[in-house]
Point group: D2
Chain length 345, copies 4
Amino acid sequence: MEKIYLASDYQEGAHPSIMKRLMETNMEHTPGYGTDDYSASAIEKIRRACDAPNAAVHFLVGGTQTNATVIDALLASYQGVIAAESGHISVHEAGAIEFGGHKVLTLPHHYGKIAARELDAYCDTFEHDGNRDHMVMPGMVYISHPTEYGTLYSLKELSAIRKICDAHHLKLYVDGARLAYALACPSNDVTLPDLARLTDAFYIGGTKCGCLFGEAVVLPNPELIPHFFTIIKQHGALLAKGRISGIQFDTLFTDDLYSKIGEPAIKAADKLREILTSHGFRLAFDSPTNQVFVIAEDSILPKLDTHVAYSFWEKYDDSHTIIRFASSWATTMDDVNAFAAILDA
Amino acid sequence: MEKIYLASDYQEGAHPSIMKRLMETNMEHTPGYGTDDYSASAIEKIRRACDAPNAAVHFLVGGTQTNATVIDALLASYQGVIAAESGHISVHEAGAIEFGGHKVLTLPHHYGKIAARELDAYCDTFEHDGNRDHMVMPGMVYISHPTEYGTLYSLKELSAIRKICDAHHLKLYVDGARLAYALACPSNDVTLPDLARLTDAFYIGGTKCGCLFGEAVVLPNPELIPHFFTIIKQHGALLAKGRISGIQFDTLFTDDLYSKIGEPAIKAADKLREILTSHGFRLAFDSPTNQVFVIAEDSILPKLDTHVAYSFWEKYDDSHTIIRFASSWATTMDDVNAFAAILDA
Amino acid sequence: MEKIYLASDYQEGAHPSIMKRLMETNMEHTPGYGTDDYSASAIEKIRRACDAPNAAVHFLVGGTQTNATVIDALLASYQGVIAAESGHISVHEAGAIEFGGHKVLTLPHHYGKIAARELDAYCDTFEHDGNRDHMVMPGMVYISHPTEYGTLYSLKELSAIRKICDAHHLKLYVDGARLAYALACPSNDVTLPDLARLTDAFYIGGTKCGCLFGEAVVLPNPELIPHFFTIIKQHGALLAKGRISGIQFDTLFTDDLYSKIGEPAIKAADKLREILTSHGFRLAFDSPTNQVFVIAEDSILPKLDTHVAYSFWEKYDDSHTIIRFASSWATTMDDVNAFAAILDA
Amino acid sequence: MEKIYLASDYQEGAHPSIMKRLMETNMEHTPGYGTDDYSASAIEKIRRACDAPNAAVHFLVGGTQTNATVIDALLASYQGVIAAESGHISVHEAGAIEFGGHKVLTLPHHYGKIAARELDAYCDTFEHDGNRDHMVMPGMVYISHPTEYGTLYSLKELSAIRKICDAHHLKLYVDGARLAYALACPSNDVTLPDLARLTDAFYIGGTKCGCLFGEAVVLPNPELIPHFFTIIKQHGALLAKGRISGIQFDTLFTDDLYSKIGEPAIKAADKLREILTSHGFRLAFDSPTNQVFVIAEDSILPKLDTHVAYSFWEKYDDSHTIIRFASSWATTMDDVNAFAAILDA
């Protein structure tokens, strides 16, 4: 039995159509730093897909880098960013936000999501605190969609958060590292135009959604961040051969690929949930996208390890662990069936 | 007549052998963040090429990012980095070093190079200054090889700088963005093992030397920077799909490709110098590698622009400009001949 | 009835003996930046009081500045500082720690204190996390003594925290902004020599304990922070006329003044607690030092405001508020009696 | 013969009228952080003296701190500050500006001053550089008045610099650490209202001009820096007992003291120049304020050391050194006569 790979959504190279374009264009000559025609074309297609004809679009390399650069650009020096305590910037970016001088102000999370009501209360408390001038002022809100728990904000929830942001003069930024898996999910009702309409900035994830690497930052209001090019450079986030990003995103936004690329992952994840529960595993919580979290008995893990690459999430109790299976654009039904066979055995 | 592209050494994609490997391995599954076997293999090959069996090797994405991350990791908060006033970190990294909290302390440059004697004098002056505790302490030296002027340090010069660094307790770091063009240059006598022996850290440039992107940092003493992985992550410089870097460098260090990949560039540049001088252009200064600097009459530039992509260097006088032609691993003799034909016409 | 001032412990100038010394020495000439004889004498006296003959002692200006400078000096760039979520650095320093690039990692607080057991668990969890290299590594522990809630660590508790720090390779730093009020408190059993023995760094508060301004940082191991003078300068924390700090601390450590200066405050606070409870106020929690926290009905606050300067702590419920009265070295029994008269009226 | 102290202008305590006020007010109760009436009164008096009725005025503790805080507040993250290469922020602030993330962009100095023409050329070059987006954008100009060389800008020179700043969208900031010595100097024609009219920010030096410590930042346009209070706190520059600054500056701006406090220093310096030249010393350069620079033979220095505290400036040649004598508000004609007697002997 071959090993099944469900450890993460960045285990493979790039979508074959991207590799094909990179090969075809490989020996062409283009100017650097994103001033090439492929990047221009990708930007235009992203604007159309977002129904945001004036949006500024910038290509960066990775998620932590993108978060650190955008957040640093959006905040004044004395401001912090509000995030779920489970947010990627809160826990898994090695202090990149603080390296830029900003505090991450945390709210409780509800399977990865923040609640508009709790955001409102947090801001109210801050605004009425007699010591507020001695405290870090909230300047923006960071959410991820899908979240780190694979959950989704509904359009209603996102709109409510936007409303609270308006009330408290906060910018809203969405980390879309896994955005393709939201767009391909039947229960998602947040579209790219919704994101462009409701946020100040968001990024369209490439690394986990079919690219070799790359994230596309969308700023619906192109004046929002003056000199963002230089800020990107200063953060070490500017690619010399910018066209490599441009070609990848141009491909993702040709023939609507980005909205479909996550479908195999969603189908695989749905099937994984079915297989796992039918084999007696309990889902740790409900998540509709490409990540599946189950409560597993510790005693079965060593055997599972030899057949499946998955990832540790957290201890559940003394004898159980929550583990995560992640499917991706590259996961096939053969993989899923092989996984079922392993569980049967 | 087709346009000739000599504007920079990052105008094309990757060396065909790299693209081939990326294609072949594209659908394989590997763990992330550089823990894959391709990265391990690349590291091992680089260690061998550097004759540094214990060296730590890390893959980052771009040059500015690499400089900022390594320099920040090597310096104490109160220390600065000494560089030529023409050094890339001094002028063309948008303040990335200062973003990390460090001052760039500049020395005069001699066509891009610093002089050991002037470095020594600078340190002496600092050490005898009664106010030295109120000043930025030099903590390391940054040089580039080849330099931004396409010039090369001789082994003797590099050894002299190392000696001065030892005398003043400075670390020595070499930016090898264009290192392949040094290694392929007949007048270069600094080898990879020399760099590993004489520096505390250096990087082997990939972006300008045949990769889609990527730079390999070599730390001959693997204990030099504790927790460098986390530092890389904190700087937003960690690639999720680390194998993409691993595969590229594994290819560059297979069959000695890296030491040969610059040869076409050097041959092209030598020929360009010959063609240019025979057409009445004056070389602005002598540079033996892949960059050619000539003093051009301003009046001819508009016509030249339509046929050749080159880059502006600086104004020479009221009616002349220094312009730069850069060849690369991808430049062919056909390109060079076409360029000669343009000058003839 | 004159207004009674119990809003904070920094409402007056300096202890009269300090003012006297400043006047007497005012026209003397001394060298700058702490190289004067008064500073040397103060350092020597502090070393003796701490039973730490080799300690390095540095004078800084204020508490936030001292915390930011010491924490930045003690941490590697990728490390964070563990603190109670109620700690001054967590909430009331306007992001000064993050400005230096470091995350504040919070533990639950127990009336301002952290628990050794919870510290241990936090570190254990971090050390066993598979993603630890993507997270902020704890590098030190920050506690305050007395805490922001006026509570005290027992020697046993402090020793337990030290032991956990040792087990996890963490440095331990104590913010002694109000240290004199601990030393003068009968229930305190942590001495200056204990602090010097059990911590890596602590500061002896001057601003709230009788000085015009100033905090004395004690580093029991003088090699702990190389070039701390320059780090202080870089943080804008170096006083040109260093002797002004030196004279103040020399006075505080002459004839044991620092260990006695808090006594009037403790006596006043004890009496305030008695008066308040006998007038039907409920203490919000038990705190033995110079801060008294009571739950007050909102309806009485407007009247109270006209007679007493106190401070708002936090809302207790819809109709009650926790308010704080703070006594200081300058509070007299006359003040306390006048306060009783106000409550009587 | 008693030793004569001419090493710096921060060798004594505070002006007697300041000490008197501090003594008189010592036991009063005031709220913290500059919200007291003394600070309010000082602010009002400074506004009047500057003919800037709406100016924001903030009190900070020291010069390096003030420069770092103001510059950080005025610049965008990707901008740098232009200064003379001899400027205090360029050489003697231990990298405090870089600690805040900003590059100091240096211009040649002419005995401490920058030339409007060279500033213009620098900006022109930047603005026409094809790589400007990869470079640090100049965002403001820093000058000191008097300069570190004791020289003065004329009103005409200052106006010319302002004009260039306008042309290139640069803010203008003046470091007035020694401003009182300009105001008291007959050859100075730059008044406080001129500074308020021509700059975006400047600070009125207290530490070197009669205070124990303290600098008053004046922002003629009070909207220039939103939330500057919090920025000051974040930089560790906020004094808890703010009134100590308030009382000092209120005294300095009562009965026009600040404009007269430097007179004894100027008279003493003029006399020192006369004495020194009549004893065969050569002035290193012309400086009209309280600093006197002479070229001294190295052989006489050991004897001079035993009688006079002065400071080393720089080596002049193999057998000569430039040394500096600095007078202050506290220097008396007795001191000067004693100095003459020493030279006679």
